[in-house]
């Protein structure tokens, strides 16, 4: 194998010079690093698009009464905000990480299916355009705007809706195809392209997290695609899957949607949970605690996530045995999750910690995600859920899960790996400022929403009774600080990408372990052409 190394390296350098340049480079690229960069850039742009939408919503909710928009437009904004954030910001960010990191971490030269990889990315921009186009069309008097049913597409409201629903259905189809292709690619890569000696039980935890996510996507996305296709048939082709008057069942849609929707939460979270142990271990300078326990917990969470979906609609009513089953199965997710928390905190125990920005975000993630997990435990309780459900309590809960678990997790990853990708160190000062502003304003935004929910404010209302005014005003102030703080992040990333900042060595962080830190920073365009041996 060693004899081949020199020849291949020379070939790689030579090969690198023949890339098309300009836009064609990005359109035709099959390189996992280029594609990863495109995914992450797309995600960042859509993060701001979704963010602007919700700031408009929060501005409307600053005071009781209708100030800036009519309820129809409000309903469009909340639904598209969620679809954009979930499908176009969080999922592509995780896929971007996978593209950049999995080959580097398992010692593979690229992803297993590079052309599929390229196609998977280039399906995203058209899907995002489809999703948001109805806003623009409405300005020209075509249709009545984007989907106004919330991101859940609940029938029969979605059967009633305008062309925005059709656009959203096709957009979800395309996003689904893209995600399934990405997932198949990741599964194939992890199973077949690991460096010699890297057994499954030596696989980095980030890859394990993604592997479970990929399986969940392949299992559940076709169900979503089927559900929205049935919806499309009901809308235009005279079927009655969800129309009660024709013998259909509106609750069937909820079952189908949440069979996808609940695992989706873990689809968004597992890559981040996989990333946490790496960051913990690096900044505590100590080996991960309970590697196997974490792997088994990922698998357990993945399996459990497929069998608890109905807790998303306890209030729709179901037989008592079903209520009890979904209540207890949901509660049982707390056990593998507790294993993860235990392992992360045990990793910190008696380490030698430093608190660079990625570590700060990781710690912020653990604490705030803890709140999401614990409120999730009480939400599982059917009788109490009757009060929490459809209220701002739930809104606060899932933002604690998906903003801190998802977005702050992604930011942890960006700060952790960006120096590796660009060869430049980001500004630590701005990173810390970004962290503190984010954490404080996040809590300012969402902590009051728990109390709003308890007091009885339903979600998705454009206007509210007077007793909810004070908390809403606080929440809006928090949201604007939170939104604008993210510009610091964008600036920091941009500075790194354009080569500002200190140059970093191969092992960017003192305590970092793993194959990716053996490569130079930034890694060569073609890396691991000869696979390393893992002992």
């Amino acid at each position: 194998m060693n004899t081949a190394t020199v020849a291949q390296d020379a070939h790689a350098d030579h090969h690198g010079a023949h890339h098309p340049s300009g836009i064609m480079r990005w359109l035709t690229t099959t390189n996992h690093k280029d594609i990863g960069t495109m995914y992450l850039t797309f995600s960042l742009i859509m993060f701001f698009v979704g963010g602007i939408m919700i700031l408009a919503v929060r501005a409307e909710l600053f005071q009781p009464g209708l100030q800036f928009m009519q309820p129809e437009f409000f309903n469009q904004l909340i639904g598209v905000h969620a679809l954009v954030m979930i499908f176009a910001a969080l999922m592509p960010a995780a896929t971007g990480f996978a593209n950049w990191q999995i080959p580097l971490m398992i010692g593979a030269p690229d992803m297993a299916l590079p052309r599929l990889n390229n196609w998977g990315f280039w399906l995203l921009p058209p899907a995002a355009i489809l999703l948001t186009l109805p806003f623009t069309l409405a300005l020209f008097g075509i249709g009545d705007g984007a989907i106004a049913t919330g991101w859940t597409f609940y029938a029969p409201l979605s059967i009633q809706g305008g062309i925005g629903v059709d656009f959203a259905i096709f957009s979800v189809h395309i996003l689904g195809i893209s995600s399934i292709m990405g997932s198949i690619n990741i599964i194939v890569t992890i199973f077949n392209m690991r460096a010699p000696g890297m057994t499954m039980m030596k696989l980095p935890l980030f890859c394990w997290g993604w592997l479970i996510t990929a399986f969940l996507l392949v299992i559940t996305l076709p169900v979503l695609a089927g559900a929205v296709t049935m919806l499309l048939m009901d809308r235009h082709f005279g079927t009655h899957f969800f129309i009660a008057a024709g013998g259909g069942d509106p609750i069937l849609f909820q079952h189908l949607f949440w069979f996808f929707g609940h695992p989706e939460v873990y689809i968004l979270l597992l890559p981040v949970w996989g990333l946490m142990p790496h960051v913990m271990s690096t900044f505590t300078r100590k080996p991960n605690y309970g590697y196997k326990a974490q792997v088994y917990s990922f698998i357990a969470i993945g399996v459990l996530s497929l069998v608890v979906w109905a807790h998303h609609f306890f209030t729709a009513g179901m037989p008592v045995p079903a209520l009890l089953y979904f209540m207890y199965s949901t509660m049982s997710i707390s056990l593998p999750l507790a294993v993860l928390f235990f392992c992360w905190i045990a990793t910190m125990w008696r380490g030698a910690m430093t608190f660079e920005t990625p570590m700060l975000f990781a710690l912020g993630f653990i604490v705030l995600f803890g709140i999401a997990g614990l409120t999730g435990l009480v939400l599982a309780d059917v009788a109490a859920d009757a009060q929490y459900h459809h209220s701002y309590f739930v809104v606060a809960h899932f933002h604690y899960a998906l903003f801190t678990g998802g977005i702050m997790g992604v930011m942890t990853g960006v700060y952790y790996w960006l120096p590796k990708w660009t060869g430049r160190m980001y500004s630590e000062k701005l990173g810390k400022l970004h962290f503190w502003l984010t954490v404080i304003s996040f809590n300012l935004t969402f902590m009051p929403q728990f109390f709003l929910g308890l007091a009885g404010m339903p979600r998705r209302i454009p206007d509210y009774a007077l007793q909810f005014a004070e908390f809403n005003a606080i929440s809006t102030v928090g949201a604007f600080i939170l939104g604008f703080s993210q510009l610091i992040f964008a600036y920091n990333v941009w500075q790194c990408c354009r080569g500002k900042g200190e140059q970093v060595p191969a092992r960017v962080w003192e305590g970092a372990e793993g194959l990716e830190w053996e490569l130079s920073s930034p890694p060569p365009h073609h890396s691991w052409e000869v696979q390393p041996e893992v002992k």
Partner: protein, 413 residues
């Protein structure tokens, strides 16, 4: 009729207890709120009085149990939170590189004692999940779902865009309840009233101390009937009957609203329930019955056009104006205009006196599938239907000039 308002509104001034320390047996409030106390202590007290930190005061046994359970659970999760993160924060303070700590090398439990300490937290969590929280939760579910044992009466609730219909099968009373908050208040052209967005024309009236079985359904999309003080929330699903039960403990007015996104006016679909004593309830039933029989007496009378138009305008404003707008211009393309509408300006009936498909009468009676236009024959009376059809044909610049009698509507049904 005595109308006492159990204070849902902390800012009404009667309940000035901050930090969720509300009175009653379960006045512990949430520890979550207590955690915030140091920050809030910096605020002046009158400011705090405007905030509500927990469920509103329960008005039914179910809501009382739910609040009790919620408080217990909040204490449990707060203790878990504090213990777990105290350990983490201790570690963050003590185990830093800057203190010259040499990192340990362990990567899992070693030895029997460590395994014991690793497994203890999970035993505790199992206990919390399935015993400490699991058992009360089990009983609460059984209690919540037992709608039929010793039920005294039935209330039927039907959600429709964007109002509620209430029906008392025992006494044959049936009416629609819509929001009365004026548009000017919503659009900030008038000062908002005390019960802004939580006020209706015809509240549900229920006797206190009686177990009411509430059957819930919908005619169009999914709605959710929710009164926070009752501890019940259940989706209204077209084609399905769902049920909850309510036993109001003391007279008063209880306010809630629709909780499932149901289209444009989802936020303007309040639920108001008035709990009254039994004699008051009996009197109300008699009064309502008399009203209804006088209304149905009008069916067989020959109405003049002017009478129908005057009545029709009222019906239009309550039932149609939300979508088609008070000026009949609608909100195209979702909600079409009635002014100059092709549908409105069709001949009233066919030559042999039948309803023509897709004509004005057909649309009002039977609705249009797949849109928010519902079949009004299920919710409006013969008089209301005749009046609103006549009104629409002779308003907003429509000049059909004809009218339809309630008796004919009755025959056409």
């Amino acid at each position: 009729m005595t109308q006492r308002e159990p204070s849902r509104h902390a800012h009404s001034g009667r309940r000035m207890m901050p930090l969720g320390l509300q009175g009653g047996r379960f006045g512990r409030g949430t520890l979550l709120a207590a955690l915030l106390a140091p920050f809030l202590a910096l605020c002046p007290l009158p400011l705090l009085a405007a905030y509500s930190w927990n469920f509103p005061e329960p008005a039914t046994p179910l809501a009382r149990d739910t609040l009790h359970m919620h408080n217990q659970f909040m204490i449990i999760i707060t203790v878990l939170f504090v213990v777990v993160f105290a350990i983490m924060i201790y570690s963050m303070v003590k185990h830093r590189k800057s203190l010259g700590v040499e990192p340990a090398k362990f990567s899992g439990p070693t030895g029997k004692l460590q395994w014991f300490w690793v497994l203890v937290p999970f035993a505790i969590l199992l206990f919390i999940d399935f015993i400490l929280m699991g058992i009360p939760a089990f009983h609460a579910v059984i209690d919540m779902e037992d709608t039929q044992t010793k039920a005294d009466m039935v209330l039927r609730v039907t959600g429709m865009q964007w109002k509620w219909q209430y029906e008392y099968p025992d006494s044959g009373i049936k009416y629609i309840s819509t929001s009365t908050t004026p548009k000017e208040q919503v659009n900030n052209q008038a000062e908002k009233g005390e019960h802004y967005l939580l006020e209706v024309d015809n509240p549900v009236v229920l006797p206190v101390g009686k177990k009411v079985r509430v059957l819930i359904t919908s005619t169009d999309v999914i709605h959710t009937w929710w009164v926070p003080q009752f501890g019940v929330k259940r989706d209204a699903i077209p084609g399905f009957l769902r049920e909850v039960w309510v036993k109001i403990e003391k007279p008063g007015i209880y306010r809630g609203q629709c909780a499932e996104l149901c289209g444009k006016d989802h936020g303007f679909m309040p639920v108001v329930v008035q709990g009254v004593t039994e004699p008051e309830y009996a009197a109300w039933v008699e009064k309502k019955k008399a009203e209804q029989s006088s209304a149905s007496a009008g069916v067989d009378k020959a109405w003049t056009k002017a009478e129908l138009i005057a009545k029709g305008k009222e019906v239009y404003m309550t039932n149609c104006a939300a979508c088609h707008q008070p000026d009949g211009k609608g909100l195209p393309p979702t909600f079409p205009a009635l002014a100059g509408s092709k549908v409105v300006n069709t001949p009233l009936l066919s030559a042999d006196g039948k309803v023509v498909k897709d004509s004005h009468v057909d649309r009002v009676l039977n609705g249009k599938a797949g849109t928010a236009m519902q079949a009004f024959k299920t919710t409006l009376s013969d008089v209301d239907l005749a009046a609103v059809i006549t009104f629409e044909r002779n308003s907003f610049g429509n000049t059909q000039g004809d009218l339809i009698q309630p008796a004919l509507i009755k025959a056409l049904r």
